[in-house]
Structures are given as structure tokens and as C-alpha cells.
């Protein structure tokens, strides 16, 4: 082994370090790092005025606003109903539970274009759901609400799947203890269960938000792409590219990319924090005599 490898890695009898790490770094650079840095380099070719004019253009601002607002709304819907669904799927037994549980991953598996045309068809005025909503004055397809629906669909698995293992791991003895001390179920939920769950709920919420911010396929069909009203940033990027305005496309993309990296950082911090909390909780449980129990 070369002396350089010896310095960066602890010794091991297992072979193949140089080969596998070398290939990993090469492939990572060729497929991900070099293309991504092309985007950063392209931004440096823009003048600050150019960049600023593009990203503060009213149409771009409207797109950012819609994208962020609808992603937030979708993630909030998922936070409430996704948490409820996770609870029901883990704690209750009913017919069709396992099929429903498997179906939760559908938004990961169904191509976004298919989801897009399916949701649009559901919510147009003659659609299965649209025909009941339109008479009530609720317009979903070809309106900002449609973007919220699409982004709710896209983010649905995140809260449920982040929460499920945490609910499974909940210590039933704590709930029994609370009940035996006279707490009503709602008090137990508020004081015992929710404090355990909410770091995972927040992580799921942020993951759903991050996924929704970059989404394109499921949104472009249902939004109707009305100028300045239901356009999202990825659509503007594609339109700029079609006009051969690569500079503006890059400027819009860089702002999006920065937002998703910030969210990614937040997700990592959240996960680190909730893991630490989890460990801390376990340690207190182990040392406290009251939790000895059965």
C-alpha cells in the first residue's frame, strides 16, 4: 500500500480500498461534480446586474413565491394528515392496512408526468373530484391550488415514512405509566407521545418541502402555466432554454439550488439533533429506576 493511502485510512486486511474508492471518486466527479460545477462557473460569467435583473424580474419572483408557498402548504398538509396516517397504519389493525401501507410509496414509484396528467384529469371541471369542487367555487386545476395538490401528492411519503419507525419504537410503558397516573388519553398524547414524535415530524416536513421545491413533472400539467400566476421556476428555466437564454436559465437555477442546499443542511442538522435527543432519552430511561418496570 502506498504511504499516502496509509495516512488517510486506518489499516485493514480487507482488499480493494484503492480500486473501489478510486472508481467511486472518478465516477462521482464525472457524473455529478463536474456537471454541477459547470452551473456554478456559468453563473460567474454573468454580470451582477444581469443576474439581479433576472432573479428580481416580477415574473421570476411570482414563480419563486408560488413555488415556495405551495411547497409549504403541501408540506403542512402532509405534516397533519401524514402524521395521522402514520399513526393509524402503525397502531391500528384494519382490513386493507398492509395494501394501504405499501401504497404510501406510490408517489416515489409513479413517474411524475403520469401523476401530473392523472391529477389534472381528476380536478378539471368534469373530473371525478373537480365536478364536486367547481360548483362550490373551488378551482383546483389550472389554478394555484392545483400546484398545492400536486406538491402534496409528491411529498406524501416523506412524513409517513419518517414517522412510522419512530411510532413503532415508542415505549408503551410510558403511555401506561401516564394513564396509571391518571392522565387522560389526550393529555398523554400531548405530553408524552408528541414530544417524542415531533423531531421526526419536522424532519419529514422538511424533506417533503425540499422535494416539492424542485418538482416539475407533476406540476406543469395541473398548473396550466398561466403567465405570472401559476408558473414555477423550473418551467421558467425550460422556457429560457427554449429562447436560447442560457444565462437567465442559469441565474434562476442557482437561486433554486442555493435554497435546496440550505434545506439539505437543515435536514442534516435536524436528523443529527433528533438522533442525539433519541439517545439522550434512552440513557435517561435506562438510569431512571421508575422505568425499570416489567
Amino acid at each position: 500500500m502506498s504511504p499516502l493511502l496509509g495516512r488517510i485510512k486506518t489499516p485493514s486486511v480487507i482488499p480493494g480500498f484503492g480500486l473501489t474508492l478510486g472508481f467511486t471518486l472518478l465516477y462521482l466527479s464525472l457524473v455529478v461534480l463536474i456537471p454541477l460545477s459547470a452551473l456554478i462557473l456559468k453563473t460567474t460569467e454573468l454580470t451582477w446586474e444581469q443576474f439581479w435583473a433576472t432573479v428580481t424580474d416580477p415574473r421570476t419572483l411570482a414563480a419563486y413565491k408560488l413555488s415556495f408557498g405551495a411547497s409549504l402548504a403541501g408540506a403542512l398538509i402532509n405534516l397533519v394528515f401524514g402524521s395521522l396516517a402514520a399513526w393509524v397504519l402503525v397502531r391500528y389493525r384494519f382490513i386493507g392496512r398492509r395494501v394501504l401501507d405499501a401504497m404510501v410509496d406510490l408517489p416515489f414509484a409513479l413517474p411524475t408526468a403520469v401523476a401530473g396528467i392523472a391529477l389534472t384529469t381528476l380536478y378539471t371541471e368534469n373530473g371525478w373530484l373537480g365536478r364536486y369542487l367547481e360548483p362550490l367555487g373551488i378551482r383546483v386545476a389550472f389554478a394555484p391550488l392545483g400546484v398545492v395538490v400536486a406538491l402534496t401528492f409528491i411529498g406524501l411519503p416523506f412524513v409517513v415514512r419518517t414517522l412510522q419507525p419512530v411510532i413503532e419504537d415508542l415505549d408503551r410503558e410510558l403511555e401506561e405509566a401516564a394513564a396509571s397516573l391518571g392522565a387522560r388519553r389526550i393529555t398523554t398524547l400531548r405530553r408524552v407521545i408528541l414530544p417524542e414524535l415531533w423531531p421526526a415530524m419536522l424532519t419529514g416536513f422538511t424533506l417533503a418541502l425540499a422535494r416539492a421545491l424542485g418538482e416539475y413533472g407533476s406540476v406543469v400539467f395541473i398548473s396550466g402555466n398561466i403567465v405570472g400566476e401559476t408558473e414555477i421556476p423550473p418551467l421558467l428555466i425550460i422556457m429560457k432554454l427554449e429562447e436560447y437564454d442560457v444565462g437567465s436559465a442559469t441565474a434562476i437555477a442557482v437561486v433554486m439550488l442555493l435554497a435546496s442546499f440550505l434545506l439539505l443542511l437543515m435536514i442534516n442538522l435536524l436528523q443529527w439533533w433528533s438522533a442525539r435527543r433519541h439517545v439522550a432519552a434512552r440513557i435517561t430511561l435506562r438510569v431512571s429506576p421508575s422505568a425499570g418496570g416489567v
Binding site: 488517510i8 486506518t10 485493514s12 486486511v13 480487507i14 482488499p15 480493494g16 480500498f17 474508492l21 472508481f23 465516477y27 462521482l28 455529478v32 463536474i34 456537471p35 454541477l36 452551473l39 394528515f81 396516517a85 393509524v88 391500528y92 389493525r93 384494519f94 405499501a102 401504497m103 404510501v104 416515489f108 414509484a109 409513479l110 413517474p111 411524475t112 408526468a113 403520469v114 396528467i117 392523472a118 384529469t121 381528476l122 373530473g127 402534496t152 401528492f153 406524501l156 411519503p157 415514512r161 401506561e176 388519553r185 424533506l207 424542485g214 416539475y216 413533472g217 400539467f221 423550473p234 432554454l241 436560447y244 442560457v246 436559465a249 437555477a253 439550488l257 435546496s260 434545506l263 439539505l264
Partner: protein, 306 residues
């Protein structure tokens, strides 16, 4: 499938709902009923309805019209291109995933956590941006564009661009499944095999591979589903040349925008079937895992795709 597992009598339960819990740690029957109903309505509206409407629309004008739309030359070309793209992108990312997880799980080295973060990077990038970066590299206004044009090599608005963009968006799938799995399994078995005189390759094939096969399969299935279904990234680099650079999702878009709904949903239904197969395989893999776990294997199951 093991019928014994299906036929196993379930525990008697009050009112058909309620779990393995004592009255003190569950909600009143009425509350449970309401919560289950809300969950069913939510999942029904957001998951069941979109799936059902795909098949309803695809067969709206009967099975003859359905098959007719799939036999059309442009549809066949789109199906072929999608299969070709997946056939190139999935093996490439499979080899990478195995190599990366071997390096990361079996060794300790400086900068490991940075490497793991970098592998996850494509998940944080919007699909449209994933396409854009290849346009910036290989497009006519891109760095390599003039050189490629001079040598008459077409990447953007051609098949190579589609494959590259697909490789980018499906890049982390296999590695992500394998890294935590191999980390949890540790090195003892491999070290034993090596000390008994097995070669590195033999150790991988006979010891490591059997241990990771379910996680590997799961990663490949997810990678394949995304490779065949990718829309945003491919849409940027393809140029939408009918019969030439349209994958199935792009063909769906073209047909839908032409108001040819039956044909659009017919092609979409194939992708929906692929999604259902993906979910079924995922459930089966998880089930096999749990069974192996019960039989005494200490390997943790594959995590969710989140």
C-alpha cells in the same frame, strides 16, 4: 408465497380495529374509527384516485383503442428508448453503488462523511437543473459544445444526453441502500473468509453478495423505476423529437398536449403498472428480510426510499 403466513389466524380484536394494546394505551373505539376514516379518505384522494383514473382513462374507449395506441410506431419507439436508457443507466449506477458502499462501509478513511453527502447530492437538485447542467456542458452554448459540433458528435437533443441525465438523477439509489446495510453488517465475515485463504473477489462473491442481495435488489428496483419514469431532467436534454428522442414520459406529455387522452393514458398505464410492480417487489423484499431476520440473521432490513 408462504400460505401459512396468510392463513395464520389473527389475534381477536375488539370491533375489528385496535391493535396489540391495552385499553390504557389506545384511543376510544369511536376516535379510532374517525382517525381510520380520515386516513382512508386522505390516502384514497391522494393515492387511490390518481392511480384509478389512469386506468379508467386508458380504457375509456375500450380495449381495442387501448392496444391501438400502444402499437403505434411512435409509442413503440418511446418504449424502446426508455428500455435502452434504463438498460444503460441502471447497470452503471449498480456498479458504482457496490464500489462506493464497499469503500465506505468496509474501511475507515478521512473525509468519509463528506463523500456520503456528495453521493446524496443529486437528490437535492431539481430534475430540471439536472438536465440544465448537461446543456451547460454539452449544449451549443456550453463548454464542450463547439468542439462536439466540430466533430459532429451529438449529446444534447440526442440519446447520449438522455442517458447521462438519467444516470445523474438515479445516481444515489443503489449506494444509498447498500451503505447503511453493509455498515451494519460489519467486517467479521469477510475477515474470516480472507483469513481462511479466500481471494478478495471470492470473498465479495461468496460472503458479501449473499448478505446484501435483498438490499441490492431493492436499490436496483428503485433505480430502475426512476430511470424509466424520469421526466424533468430528460425533458430538458431530449429536444422532443418524436420517434427519436422521446422516452415514455415525454411521449405521454406530447400525446396529452395534443388532447389525445386515450393514447396518453395508455402509455401512462404502462408506467403505472411499472410503479405497482416496483411497490410489490419492495413489499416482497421487506417481507423476505423480516423472515430472514426471524430465522436468526442479524442483518437489518432495507430502509425506506426517503
Amino acid at each position: 408465497m408462504d400460505t401459512a403466513l396468510i392463513l395464520q389466524p389473527t389475534k381477536p380484536q375488539r370491533g375489528g380495529i385496535g391493535g396489540p394494546s391495552t385499553p390504557a394505551t389506545t384511543e376510544p373505539l369511536a376516535v379510532r374509527g374517525v382517525l381510520i376514516t380520515i386516513a382512508l379518505v386522505f390516502l384514497g384522494v391522494f393515492l387511490g384516485a390518481p392511480l384509478a383514473v389512469v386506468f379508467a382513462e386508458a380504457f375509456a374507449k375500450g380495449t381495442a383503442a387501448y392496444w391501438e395506441s400502444l402499437r403505434e410506431p411512435d409509442a413503440l419507439a418511446a418504449i424502446k428508448l426508455t428500455l435502452l436508457t434504463a438498460a444503460l443507466a441502471v447497470p452503471a449506477n449498480l456498479v458504482f453503488g457496490v464500489a462506493a458502499s464497499w469503500a465506505i462501509a468496509k474501511f475507515d478513511f478521512v473525509g468519509k462523511s463528506v463523500l456520503i453527502t456528495l453521493i446524496d447530492l443529486p437528490f437535492a437538485v431539481s430534475p430540471v437543473i439536472s438536465g440544465l447542467i448537461y446543456v451547460l456542458l454539452f449544449g451549443l452554448q456550453g463548454w464542450l459544445g463547439p468542439w462536439l459540433a466540430a466533430h459532429d458528435i451529438k449529446i444534447i437533443f440526442a440519446v447520449p444526453g438522455i442517458v447521462l441525465a438519467t444516470i445523474f438523477v438515479t445516481f444515489p439509489f443503489v449506494a444509498r441502500e447498500l451503505i447503511p446495510l453493509m455498515q451494519a453488517q460489519g467486517n467479521e465475515e469477510e475477515e474470516a473468509a480472507l483469513s481462511l485463504g479466500a481471494s478478495g473477489w471470492q470473498t465479495f462473491r461468496r460472503v458479501t453478495l449473499p448478505n446484501i442481495k435483498w438490499g441490492l435488489l431493492y436499490g436496483v428496483i428503485l433505480c430502475n423505476a426512476r430511470a424509466m419514469g424520469e421526466f424533468g431532467a430528460v425533458s430538458v436534454v431530449s429536444g422532443h423529437i418524436r420517434g427519436l428522442t422521446n422516452t415514455m414520459p415525454l411521449h405521454v406529455e406530447v400525446l396529452y398536449n395534443e388532447y389525445n387522452f386515450v393514447a396518453a393514458f395508455a402509455v401512462a398505464s404502462l408506467l403505472a403498472v411499472l410503479a405497482l410492480v416496483t411497490l410489490a417487489v419492495k413489499s416482497a423484499v421487506e417481507w423476505r428480510y423480516r423472515r430472514e431476520l426471524k430465522r436468526g440473521g442479524a442483518t437489518p432490513g432495507p430502509g425506506g426510499p426517503a
